[in-house]
Amino acid sequence: MADGSIGTPAIGASVRRREDYRFLTGQGTYTDDINRPGQVYAYILRSPHANARIGGIDTSAAASSPGVVAVFTGKDLEADGIGGLPCGWLINSKDGSPMAEPPHPVLVTDRVRHVGDHIAVVIAETLGQARDAAERIDIDYAVEPAVVDSVAALRPGAPLVWEQAPGNVCYDWHLGDSAAVETAIGKAARVVKLDLVNNRLVPNAMEPRAAIGEFNRATGEYTLYTTSQNPHVIRLLMGAFVLHIPEARLRVVAPDVGGGFGSKIYHYAEEAIVTWAAAKVRRPIKWTADRSESFMSDAHGRDHVTHVELALDADAKFLALKVSTLANMGAYLSTFSTCIPTYLYGTLLAGTYTTPAIYVETKAVFTNTVPVDAYRGAGRPEATFLLERIVDLAADELGIDPAELRRRNFIARDAFPYQTPVALQYDSGDYQTTLDMAMEAAGYAGFEARRREAAGRGKLRGIGIATYIEACGIAPSAVVGSLGARAGLFESAAVRVHPTGSVSILTGSHSHGQGHETTFAQLVSDHLGIPIDSIEIVHGDTAKIPYGMGTYGSRSLAVGGSAIIKAMDKVIAKGRKIAAHLLEAAEADIEFKDGEFTVAGTDRSKSLGEVALTAYVPHNFPHDELEPGLDETAFYDPKNFTFPSGAHIAEIEIDPDTGHLTVLNFTASDDFGRIVNPMIVAGQVHGGLAQGIGQALLEGCVYDTETGQLLTGSYNDYAMPRAADFPNFVLSTHVTLCTHNPLGVKGCGEAGAIGAPAAIANAIVDALKHLGVRHVEMPATPERLWRTIQEHQTRAAAD
């Protein structure tokens, strides 16, 4: 304790995290840290081929290997009537037809569709033995040609991933007013066009996925410990759709989780395998991914190929935006894959601008690659990237400063609520102010002098702006339901006031780095007026938490936090009744403040603790009016999305001799609504920026286009951002409150990953535009930059 201020730190204080002590002393409990009595180990045999027919699988040698307990294949699962992994969102095509939804078997039987596809599981006394035995499984493969990128998959004669999906098309979706857009383009003073790629990424949470399945014959109960961002969702999907186990007999525990970034939202085959097999072998089974397995089995992110056109009038006001995207789905539909390049993407294309007409079409394509699903930002980084690139390109073509072009087209701060042409209604925002703040902090005005100084050293310096809007706090259930979601997206919370006044909060949100044990405790401390030390935040266990939809899409505080507020308000309401009884006053006269129930205008009061004690020791209790106990549950379904926004500015320098790029400064000014813990929020932004800059400069998942082999299957080939790749980040925040949740909060988890790629890309083009460069694809590796410079210099010399 540095300042001895244990007590009730206000919302807005950088309370140091309560979870840190256990992590800093090696006492966290991650899934792989858990060992169950009698535990055995699973090894999953995965496909070495991208596309092959399986003639037969011979497991006999493996089954008789030392230490082996059992070997199972897809046939064994089929025999037990085990279902496939479900997809959580139905998308309809332009013509109203439903998407192609091929099966997603837990273990394949007749065909493998990507490198890493699951074929069999070996269960043995040790992991080494399981792996030794797996090598003795004999599989008769007939290898066939594979297709890995979305453009090639649409070509006539391309290998077909699914018979159910002719032409490899999963759906052909659209949103917006095509006619209005065409009309606007027809009369525009200028139309700016660009083709771009949003590179495929591998999430790479540092903790590899793991799962432990357990079955108790005495109670008939199954338990799954898993690296999940949403244990209740896993219980629902796996229990209802895959293994057919009633919720009451299935407990899912997501203990400490070492990062998720989206990749631990989905229900994965391994979870179902260990849970099902645990009952077969009657022993707990642990599976932990090697990093190599993570690369070929965690859902990947992004992978869009897009054509975009922006129409402007003579005053450089945006008239229309037209976007056409191919989205690579991989070989199977992962849990939320289908909504990412549609409703989490197309709806964001207004960005921070007043563009009156927008039309977007997305063709989702099957390929022989790992399934693609949400990765930090999910759809919104893709939308922001294309929008902010085309805006910069327009500025360049029109000879207008990029900041000025944005200023002319921003939605004004007094225009809220603002209805976009792509379904969303923004509740609040102030885009010009965040941009002004970022420009000030980044020294935007003085940049040209720095560019000249760098040129004197033979270096190419550039500055790039990106503004962004995101839709977070996912999501109003009625809205998403009407758009095809197969689940509601509310959140639940229970507030359990114990007899002596300490409080347990049971939340359906899940923390895997976000610091809920601290932030949520701050909320409760503030709202109930009790010290943080008497508040316990419980999450991650379906046996303890009433219900939950989990943590993703920056929804924990906006939706989960709001549920906690709602439950606390129920507690306070009941507390007022009890206090009225104890204080012999009318309920209407009882006020609650700072942990005390007071008769208005008097000094007569009862503390929350006294009220709680009465509720649990109800000797003198108004039994006619109230039940004993002080324990309330609430479900909060958001009224709208929240709309964090902001402006990011990158300053970079390129060494033209090698193409080596240095990020010199990165400035982010964000509007996250009310901020509960600024320190934690800054940490979220830092992490997002690192992933966003990583996407722009380093990371890219590459498959061999001939063989379908994953070429970036380890850290030897997939470039992870390291400490020396970044400068210190310069952050600031500006607050416009969310108008429709009780906290006024918007969410901050994804912002960095959304704004950064475009800011970096714009800075690169700014550094190279004097050579005639219009666009550089991501990741902007040294060779890519060097080549771009070479080609344009050669071209310029030839002209």
Partner: protein
């Protein structure tokens, strides 16, 4: 990993003797071998740990050269006062290998015996015209590295030390692979009594010298002297990180920078 028998011999002869089993493998720092075993890319039946052999570690000054024991770790070479004085470029190079924890285990003997095409030491050994000592003989640097992961070492031969002669000036420039941090291209330039030597790692199947640059630099030791010398890109490595053409270009850039840094 596959299971194996582990031995920790205390004499060089014992270690060499155990290598008569062709499925036996030496382990030095293990920074290459253990990751290889973990991925099940090798299946030795015996692992012979060089860690307990006497006399294989340490750095000694011997007249006009420095002798580095085969089991000397990258961190020790990097921090050695002797190396910093006699061949400072070598100390600096050792500090560019991998990361601190790798440098605390990985050894010079393991690195050159392994001869990874992107490893740093081969460039230093060749440019500095070092001599590799084994339990059987001495091998000149130019004869030691024979191809992709191939060296002149015979079965049963163990690197015991490497002798580096003092040079007038030298410098190593490394352009890192952004993922693995090995060299996409590394160029070691040394001005020795016998002329200038330029050794390139990362670009080809194995380390190679660039005679045209050496001749130009022997005539005039300036960066400008080699700015127009381009090496042909045919036969160079090409992968998702760098094409052969880009590597060829980087060789000239890194060589120029190394010469300039010699000051």
């Amino acid at each position: 990993m596959y299971e194996f028998d582990y031995h920790r011999p205390t004499s060089l002869d014992d270690a060499a003797g155990r290598l008569s089993d062709e499925d036996a493998k030496l382990v030095a720092g293990g920074m290459t071998l253990i990751p290889t075993l973990k991925l099940r890319l090798a299946k030795p039946t015996q692992l012979i740990d060089l860690g307990a052999l006497p006399g294989l570690t340490g750095i000694t000054e011997d007249g006009d050269s420095v002798v580095i024991g085969g089991m000397t770790r990258h961190a020790d070479v990097n921090r050695s006062e002797v190396v910093k004085r006699v061949v400072p470029a070598l100390a600096a190079m050792a500090g560019l290998i991998g990361d601190p924890a790798v440098r605390n285990r990985g050894t010079i003997g393991g690195s050159i015996a392994n001869n990874d095409p992107a490893a740093d030491y081969p460039a230093g050994v060749v440019a500095l015209n070092a001599t590799v000592r084994t339990n059987k003989r001495e091998i000149a640097a130019d004869d030691f590295f024979t191809g992709l992961f191939e060296t002149a070492l015979e079965p049963g031969e163990i690197v015991t030390a490497v002798r580096f002669p003092k040079v007038a000036m030298a410098n190593y420039q490394k352009f890192r692979n952004p993922a693995s941090r090995y060299a996409i291209v590394g160029v070691f330039v040394a001005r020795t009594s016998a002329g200038v030597r330029v050794a390139v790692t990362g670009a080809g199947a194995s380390v190679f010298r660039v005679p045209a640059m050496e001749a130009a630099l022997t005539a005039s030791f300036t960066a400008d002297a080699i700015k127009d010398i381009a090496i042909p890109d045919d036969g160079l490595n090409s992968d998702i990180h760098a094409s052969a053409e880009y590597r060829a270009h980087l060789v000239t850039v890194m060589a120029r920078r190394a010469v300039a840094a010699c000051g």
